[in-house]
Structure formats: C-alpha cells, structure tokens
C-alpha cells in the first residue's frame, strides 16, 4: 500500500501534465450508438511484446475504468478461465473467434479486444524510460462490426529540465526510479493509458447506461 501511495502522486502529476494536450479530432460514433451496448466482455489481451506479465497485469486494469464509464463489465478473471475451459486458452484464438458466438456464450452485447504493442523499460544513463502502447477495438455482439477503436501510447520519462538544475535532475531520477522499481511497475501507466483512452472527450467511450451522463455526454456528441 505504501508503494501505491508513492505511485499515485506520480500518476497524478502525469495526468496533470497531460491535461493541456490539444483535443484530438472527433470520431464518428454512429455505429456505436446504433449498437448501444449495455455490457462489455473484456477478453484476454494479445501480447505483442516479450514481457510475459503484461497481459495479466493489463487485463486486471480494465474492469475499473470501463465499469466506471457506465457499462456492465463481465468478471475478467472468471471469463478468462471459462474461455480456457472452452479451449480458448490463447488470446489469439479468442480474438479470431467469431464475436457473435463469443457474445452468445456470455450474453454480452459487445466485446473489447486489446492488444499490447509495447511494454518496455529502456535503461538510459541516469534514468529509465518506460513505454506502453495499446490497441483497443470494440465490436458489436450482433453484427461483429467494429463500433469503437483507439490506440494509446504512454511514455514515462523525466520532465524536461528547464533550469538545468542538477538537483531537479536528481529528483526526477528518484521519481523515475520509484516508478520503474516498484512492483507491479507498469500498473500506473496501464491505468493512465486506460483512463485517457476511455474518458477523453471526442475519442473516448461514450457514457454507458449506468452512468448519469448516459445519452447526454460530450464524449460522443456530434
């Protein structure tokens, strides 16, 4: 818990520093609104990196932001185990399986497929640069059509040293070390990526039926 206490402010700072990024172009939500899903089946993620812990860690960060957005999220661990029993123990198999059939198994309205494209720590001279990158694709359970997708890359590196103060560099390095040495290392970055992908106006996931903003949120406004 103390580690988490240390990481939270760091993430908070990251979020704050990213708050001023320019709003990306709005995307077309027609297919999403036509499908109007209430529930989302988050299936095991494809791992295109060589970090073996990435898929499990990432999957565990998904339910909270998606549910908070207003959707029923199927229990990810239970779903993973049930799929294994179905012979779909490999995420690649799950992702290539028929979406409608998958949804039928669980009574789900939609499926959220994520693949991990990068999950690396690059050790530089005094710091470590951490990069995570994800692809999110959501498909309608009836038609199998893609109704939402997003790509996210988060790079954690020390802030630019404006004054060139050696003390500031040292502090930044210490914060950096806290992020990269703590276990699980990548949790805050995965959380951050998810939060941004799901909640960013104009590109995020529209508010679901369990969210007060349902039907009137600005994320998906035309």
């Amino acid at each position: 818990m103390s580690r988490r206490g240390l990481l939270l402010p760091v993430v908070g700072f990251l979020v704050l520093s990213l708050g001023c990024a320019a709003a990306p172009p709005k995307k077309d939500y027609a297919a999403f609104h036509a499908a109007n899903p209430r529930s989302i089946l988050v299936v095991p993620v494809i791992n295109n990196t060589n970090n073996v812990e990435a898929p499990g860690l990432f999957l565990s960060t998904m339910p909270i932001p998606v549910a908070e957005r207003g959707y029923y999220v199927f229990p990810v661990n239970m779903v993973r185990r049930v799929l294994e029993d179905e012979g779909l123990s490999d995420a690649n198999l799950v992702h290539t399986a028929d979406t409608a059939r998958l949804c039928n198994l669980f009574g789900a309205d939609s499926v959220l497929y994520v693949s991990i494209e990068a999950w690396t720590a690059q050790y530089l001279l005094i710091t470590t640069q951490v990069t995570v990158e994800f692809d999110y694709v959501m498909k309608d359970g009836k038609t199998g059509d893609t109704i939402w997708k997003e790509h996210k890359k988060v790079v954690y590196a020390p802030q630019q040293q404006s004054g060139g103060s050696p003390l500031a560099a040292l502090v930044a390095a210490a914060v950096q070390a806290a992020v990269t040495k703590a276990a699980p290392n990548y949790m805050p970055l995965a959380r951050q990526a998810n939060a941004e992908v799901i909640n960013t106006p104009g590109v995020g996931l529209p508010a679901g039926p369990h969210n007060r903003e349902y039907g009137k949120d600005t994320v998906s406004a035309k």
Partner: protein
C-alpha cells in the same frame, strides 16, 4: 536541503494535487485490480484471493449500489475454485440479481455448479460452459448440505 528531503516535499505536493482532483468513483473497488493481478501471477494462492475479494465485497456491500459489476461473480468464482460450491452459487445469484446484463452467464454458471455439486458430470442440454478444468466432480468438500 538534501535531495532526499526535497524529493519527499515534491511527492507531498504531487499527492496534494492528485487528491485535490481525484475523481470520485461510482463503485467501491478497494484494491480489486491488484487482487486480480496477484491472483493471475500466483493462481495457486486461492485462499488469499478469496479472502481479498471477500474483504472488497464486504466493504462495497455497505452501500448496495456501490458494489461494482462483476465483483460478486468474480468472488463466486474464487469460492468455486476453493471448492466452496454453495457459496459460489450464492454469489452468482447476487451478481444475477444486481446486474440483469449478467443473467445469461450467471444462469449457466449456477446450473453448471449445481450439476457439479450433485455429482452428475456430463454436458448439460444447451450448456456450452463446462465446469473449470482441474475441478474433479464430487471433489467438493463433504457437508455441502442442501
């Protein structure tokens, strides 16, 4: 001032900033994501996992509409893996009651678990979800009355 001291001061400042704008969540999650992750890393640690999810359920249940979607089901499945089939069925039922979106799935799981309990293995009519591998039918602890 030492670097170490200013480091902590800086952290404190960040913490204050983060707390100031921390969004309130609709549900009470506790340490749900780390509990899931720890179980993923160490699937043998069933007892600890059951205990952690149980604590999250207990805290969330104080306010009924604060129980997150999937939590009852995940807890039920943890109980199931621990061989506590009756309790598993109870929590699948709670998930089913609270979230209508879960009904198809929970109905199947309840059916499969009951069948396992009754020591009658074999495919259910139309039931595509078999009991988890590694669960030997009839291996449920004795005293599962009712």
């Amino acid at each position: 001032m030492t670097a170490r001291r200013s480091f902590f001061l800086l952290l404190a400042a960040f913490a204050a900033a983060a707390v100031g704008c921390a969004p309130r969540t609709a549900y009470l999650w506790g340490d749900y994501d780390t509990a899931l992750y720890d179980h993923y890393r160490n699937p043998q640690d069933t007892e600890r996992y059951v205990e952690r999810l149980g604590q999250i359920v207990q805290k969330a249940e104080v306010e009924k509409d604060k129980v997150p979607p999937g939590l009852y089901a995940e807890y039920g499945y943890a109980l199931f893996e621990a061989g506590r089939l009756d309790e598993a069925i109870t929590y699948y039922g709670k998930e089913r009651e609270q979230w209508e979106e879960s009904r198809v799935f929970m109905d199947k799981m309840i059916r499969n678990t009951r069948r396992l309990k009754e020591n009658r293995p074999g495919p259910a009519p139309g039931g595509e979800l078999p009991p988890p591998a590694g669960t030997i039918p009839g291996a449920a602890p004795a005293g599962e009355a009712k």
